[in-house]
Symmetry: none
Subunit: 423 residues, 2 copies
């Protein structure tokens, strides 16, 4: 444990249990608590059910010393959090005049009439510290009992976030923040989780107790997340950097970035640094690569466009792939990938161009070219590099993996080319 504080996040509401909404609140709360050195030890979701909520409070109080509760504060009768807190603490509701004034002002400002239901939103358990909610009508509440802090917040994301940011986190930080938690990530591509683990196992075994490693795989990429805990930000930062410096030589060829770097942003930066542009020629990815590149705001500075040549006609008429190549080697071949990339570079008038052609599935596979057979190419002013991928997944994943590998081929090609230029 890093600070004396361990937190449990409790969400209340049938809509979360039944899957009617995706819960993003607890993810955000988890990051915020972690950042101030309070360890999220558990998350619990219960329905709008008195006994389930009481049980959750009791069990949480036995596990942690900070309990963050969201939801169940609305005016409608199925929101029972406040009443359940009263029962849990053996107290009752009373109108809080500050809360009432704020709710009254809230409705006055909007020129809306207040209902009895709205007035009841100002009724709070007698033992709570009132936390004003300037962003909605449901007040926040802070309780302390037997060394455990209970915080109750509305479930509306921006109300919850505002209350946490301006009221709750500062109080928790003042109370607990003795230790720091820091994350650093190494982003890799082109190597599986288990192979990566084998390459760095000696280093991983030698990690100090206060630095933990996690593998986070995602579409041909693996994030290596180092989580360090300590008391001195600068020291911890240095220790993490030292570990990264130690492991990097073992996996350098697979590393494309750090922390929040994405392949698309890394490539964008590389291209801008070299005053270079890129275009794409896509068959099996059907525009997905273009879509990923243009998902980055400002990508128009280095991205010219794409020819999605789904049919052979378009491969020939727009990209200038030769009929002979298509007939001799087929659409899914190194030669076609090469001519597509070179054609895209010419037609779109770019420094680099990448191409994809393959069998995404589920149909279209043959014995010698099964589903998942993909050729990618990257054309440069000097030469064209190609790569064969043999993927074995469903259509969607094959497309996403092909995109990752194509962007990585572009990345490596830019680096290679720039080295050549430097050399």
């Amino acid at each position: 444990m890093i600070s004396s504080a361990r937190a449990e996040i409790i969400t209340i509401g049938d809509e979360i249990l039944f899957g009617q909404i995706v819960d993003t609140n607890t993810q955000w709360i988890g990051t915020q608590l972690t950042d101030i050195g309070i360890r999220p030890a558990r998350k619990t979701s219960v329905g709008d059910n008195r006994q389930d909520i009481l049980d959750a409070f009791t069990q949480a109080s036995q596990r942690v010393n900070v309990v963050i509760v969201t939801g169940g504060l609305g005016p409608t009768r199925d929101d029972i959090t406040k009443h359940t807190f009263c029962e849990y603490f053996g107290t009752e509701l009373e109108i809080n005049q500050d809360a009432l004034a704020l709710v009254t002002e809230f409705f006055a400002k909007r020129g809306r009439a207040m209902t009895e239901m709205n007035i009841q939103q100002a009724a709070l358990p007698k033992n709570c510290t009132y936390i004003p909610n300037l962003w909605g009508t449901a007040p926040g509440m802070w309780f302390e009992k037997d060394g455990v802090i209970y915080v109750s917040l509305p479930g509306v994301p921006y109300e919850m976030k505002s209350l946490m940011e301006f009221e709750i986190l500062p109080r928790l930080k003042a109370r607990f923040s003795t230790h720091i938690i820091q994350h650093k990530q190494i982003r890799t591509i082109g190597i599986g989780e288990s192979f990566l683990a084998e390459k760095i196992s000696t280093w991983e075994d030698a990690l100090p107790e206060h630095i933990k490693l996690a593998y986070l795989p995602h579409f041909g990429q693996v994030k290596l997340r180092l989580t360090g805990t300590g008391t001195d930000q600068a020291v911890l930062d240095k220790q993490l950097d030292e570990q990264i410096a130690l492991v990097l030589p073992l996996i350098e060829e697979y590393v494309f970035g750090y922390d929040s770097d994405e392949l698309e942003t890394v490539i964008g930066t590389l291209l801008m640094n070299h005053n270079a542009t890129v275009g794409t020629a896509e068959s099996c990815t059907g525009g997905y690569v273009a879509n990923q590149i243009t998902s980055i705001p400002g990508s128009s500075r280095y991205y010219e466009g794409s020819v999605v040549s789904y049919s052979n006609d378009v491969k020939m008429s727009v990209l200038g792939v030769s009929r002979e190549t298509l007939e001799a080697y087929g659409a899914v071949s190194e030669q076609t990938a090469r001519e597509m990339a070179e054609g895209a570079r010419r037609v779109l008038n770019t420094t680099f161009a990448i191409s994809t052609t393959g069998i995404a599935g589920p149909d279209g596979g043959t014995p010698d070219k099964p589903v998942g057979t993909v050729w990618i190419a990257c054309a440069t002013p000097e030469e064209t590099f190609t790569q064969l991928l043999t993927l074995r997944n469903n259509r969607k994943i094959n497309i996403e993996l092909t995109c990752s590998y194509a962007l990585n081929l572009l990345r490596k090609t830019i680096l290679k080319t720039s080295l050549a230029v430097k050399g």
Copy 2:
């Protein structure tokens, strides 16, 4: 309650507690369990910590009779779910030969060497029923003890969903489902949730008790989901169809399909029925429309390709948009959208072509053309139809909305054209 089953969903992994990933698995699992009449009673997230996991298992077994566990099955050492199950059940791991054969085949197919770590993925607790995972390397597991079912699944969403869909849900349904729950959906586009609700409020109020209505809005579309509960499949089916027949006349112009119909599949069917083809010319959507169309297996039968003309140069050089048009009206204009669509139809040699040009944001807006200003067009052999969109969202949503509206413009154009032909 419709069955005796109450479920708890347990997710294992520090990355969820710390908020490094948004947990979408439990939301999906919640909907699936609800659909077969099993009530999700609680969700619990614990870290990669032996004692916390053991506590979660014990407490869940006291609350529910179905425990769904996801995560912590990877090959790396921070994944400890299997070992903890062994400790919980007082058993040990042993290599499961079926699992080993499957993992071996998985790597053989990919022509990749297997590491000791991969082999260990076939080691399962002796008391578990092995659930083959055809989508990854971590097997699913099914345990039963003292009247409680424990299911362990990998955390990778598509592996988890595939295992649930093909293995787990059928078993749970066979075990618990006493009543029938049936869903029917009406898919609409081009009308907001609240306007739709007004149009059908009388019908909605008259729905029988055992048929519930849900509005599921998603990127310019609204799904109307009817959920019927009963004991006789045929009767329930008929009752749902009768309700659909009643509501349809009120909203016909907005309805593009039913149940699992997607705009992309509806368009594909329309195009094939008319022996027609389509191509796209995309600026602000950057390949997203092409990607959506080609997400449908077999789309190569009617989809020729796309020109993603992100720069004006490509708009002119590949699509033949005139410099005069771009200078006089700008890239985001009805005229440019029109010339892009007509150019795409010519260059890609298709029956129809749709184009998108707009300001997706966050930058690039001007007082007269703010972020969210988008022109779309659909070219046919006879004429070209255009439409102005004024969206007010972030980049990602603007792109997705533009795609929905462009595909819907294509759908309506095909219908209009075919009527003209018929007439």
